[in-house]
Every structure is written in structure tokens, then in C-alpha cells.
């Protein structure tokens, strides 16, 4: 009696795109992804603002959490990589880290279960922002010699420059932003597909073959992968911020 109802719930997607396409629910093509992006923005703002709104000698419990995390980004990422000038780039690194963290963690948040960064627009936009930032920093600090120094490594024999200049130009100004965006996007898309596969397998077995031995194995895998995805979500936000810091540092100290 209940089996046919469950069979209707278990919808097997015909195509991978089916997992990532959402219809627009509001004007201007605003769909679930955009709404979740707004939610992450709001969450970032509240998370960074509310617990430390009133300065206190002894911070509240959430205040300690926020201060620890912000200190981690400020000291562990910005200052360790960029060096003494890191304070100038915290406006980019700290909000970006928390925004990405919330967007990635939506992947395993109950009732949401969608990694917003698995839509290419968001990583692509952030990578573009990072690209503009590090090129601007380099040009402002070194002028046009920034581009010359970043495509000509020191100590290369003259005839080899024909090969080295195009490779270095591509790797610095083209591959860098693309790989930065693709890394985040592909990690999230792979995680979401993996979760979908194991949970849908569990549900299918639960409906069509309701024996504990049949659906316990994919369910166990799904739970393990959920834990792994929490790790991946945090790690990818960390790596994106870390690489941004590394790129900015390479623009500041371009002449190695």
C-alpha cells in the first residue's frame, strides 16, 4: 500500500543536469540557488556582526567562536602568506571565507541539501574578483613592469624565452582564475552527485527491495560521505581563500 507512494517520491533523475537545474520562482529569474545565495549573505553578515556587536571584556560564547575563526583567517591565512601588508586585503579574504563556508555547508545542511557553489556563476564571479584584485595590486605596486616580471622568470637563457613567455603568461593570467573557479565548482558538484547517488540508491532499495541487508550498505556509505563532505566544504573554502592570498602575495613580491 505504501510502496507505490514511496515509488513516486523516489524520482530517478534522467540526467545529471536535473540535479542542478531549478525553475525560477520569482521575477528576474530568481530561483532556489539565488535565494540560497541571499541566505548565505545574510548568514555571513549576522554571524560576523551579531555576536561581537557590543564590545565586551569577556566575549560571549558565540563571540569567542567568531573571534577564533576571524583570527584564523586573519593570522593563519592572510598574515602568514601575504606578510606585513596583509591588513590591506582582509576586506576581501575574511568575508569571502565565511561566505564560501556557508555556501559550501548548504550541501549537507538538512532541508537545504544543495551546494550553491556547484553552480559555476558563483565561483566564476569570485575568481574574476580575485583576478581583478591581484592584477590591480601588481599594477599599482610595480606599474607595467609587473606584467614583464611575472612572465619572465629570472635566470632563463634568452632563446628559451620564446617558449617561457607564452607559458608563463597563460599560467598566470588565464589558467589561474579558471583553475581557481573550477576547483571549487568541481569539488562541490562531485560531492553533490556522490551524495545524490548514494541516497537515491538507498531510497530505491528501501522502496523496491525493503530488506535491511540491501539498503544498509548504501546508507552507511551515504553517512560516511556526508561526514567527508563537511570536511570538503570547509577545506575548499580554506583553499580558495589561501590561494587568493597566495596570488595577492605573488603580485606584491613579483621579482623573486
Amino acid at each position: 500500500m505504501t510502496v507505490p507512494i514511496l515509488a513516486q517520491i523516489v524520482e530517478v533523475p534522467s540526467n545529471v543536469n536535473h540535479l542542478f537545474d531549478w525553475p525560477a520562482v520569482l521575477p528576474f529569474g530568481i530561483n532556489r540557488v539565488v535565494l540560497l545565495m541571499f541566505l548565505a549573505t545574510l548568514a555571513t553578515f549576522l554571524f560576523l556582526y551579531i555576536p561581537v556587536r557590543t564590545p565586551r571584556v569577556v566575549p560571549s560564547k558565540m563571540g569567542v567562536v567568531v573571534e577564533t575563526l576571524v583570527n584564523f583567517v586573519r593570522n593563519g591565512i592572510a598574515r602568514d602568506i601575504i606578510g606585513p601588508e596583509s591588513a590591506k586585503y582582509e576586506w576581501l579574504l575574511i568575508p569571502m571565507f565565511f561566505w564560501l563556508l556557508f555556501l559550501n555547508l548548504f550541501e549537507i545542511t538538512p532541508l537545504i541539501h544543495f551546494p550553491v557553489t556547484s553552480r559555476m556563476a558563483i565561483p566564476a564571479f569570485l575568481a574574476g574578483l580575485v583576478w581583478v584584485t591581484f592584477v590591480f595590486v601588481g599594477l599599482k605596486k610595480h606599474g607595467l613592469s609587473y606584467i614583464k616580471n611575472s612572465v619572465i622568470p629570472p635566470g632563463v637563457p634568452k632563446p628559451l624565452l620564446v617558449l617561457v613567455i607564452p607559458i608563463d603568461f597563460l599560467s598566470t593570467f588565464v589558467i589561474r582564475p579558471i583553475s581557481l573557479a573550477v576547483r571549487l565548482f568541481a569539488n562541490m558538484i562531485a560531492g553533490h552527485i556522490m551524495l545524490a547517488v548514494f541516497f537515491l540508491t538507498t531510497a530505491s532499495y528501501f522502496v523496491f527491495e525493503p530488506k535491511i541487508v540491501a539498503f544498509a550498505i548504501p546508507l552507511a556509505f551515504a553517512i560516511v560521505i556526508t561526514a567527508f563532505e563537511i570536511f570538503v566544504a570547509v577545506l575548499q573554502a580554506y583553499i580558495f581563500t589561501l590561494l587568493t592570498a597566495v596570488y595577492i602575495e605573488s603580485s606584491i613580491n613579483v621579482e623573486h
Binding site: 593563519g76 573550477v182 576547483r183 568541481a186 569539488n187 558538484i189 577545506l235 583553499i239
Partner: protein, 76 residues
């Protein structure tokens, strides 16, 4: 039909082959990072940061393969 089949086979091969090199590479990166951390525990923090950087750069190649899989899969 033939082209679709070729695209599907290519999609499978693209990701499978793209995963080989980065798999070995990440193993080497993490193995050497563990060795460095054991030899000099006081440098562990810095080694870990560098390890994640190395993993990120290596992993990107496998992820390009994954992307290629989707492109070829969509072409079929």
C-alpha cells in the same frame, strides 16, 4: 549514433585517465608532508599549509578531467 557512442566512451576515458596522475601526485605530496612533519614537528603548521596548497594545485588537473567528462557527456 556513432558519434554519441564515441563521446560517451571518451567521457569515461577522460575522467578515468585524468584521475591517474593526480592520484599518484597527491599521494606523493601528502606522503612527503607527513615525513616532514614527523622529522620537524615544530614546522608542522607551515608544512600543513604548504601541503594543502600542493594538494589544491595537483587536484585541479583531476577536476579538469571531471569537467571534461561533463562536457563530453553533454555532447552525447
Amino acid at each position: 549514433m556513432q558519434a554519441d557512442a564515441a563521446a560517451l566512451i571518451g567521457a569515461g576515458l577522460a575522467y578515468g585517465l585524468a584521475a591517474i596522475g593526480p592520484g599518484v601526485g597527491i599521494g606523493i605530496v601528502v606522503g612527503n608532508a607527513v615525513q616532514a612533519m614527523v622529522r620537524q614537528p615544530e614546522m608542522a603548521g607551515q608544512v600543513r599549509t604548504t601541503m594543502f596548497l600542493g594538494i589544491a594545485f595537483t587536484e585541479a588537473l583531476a577536476l579538469f578531467g571531471l569537467l571534461l567528462f561533463f562536457i563530453l557527456f553533454g555532447a552525447a
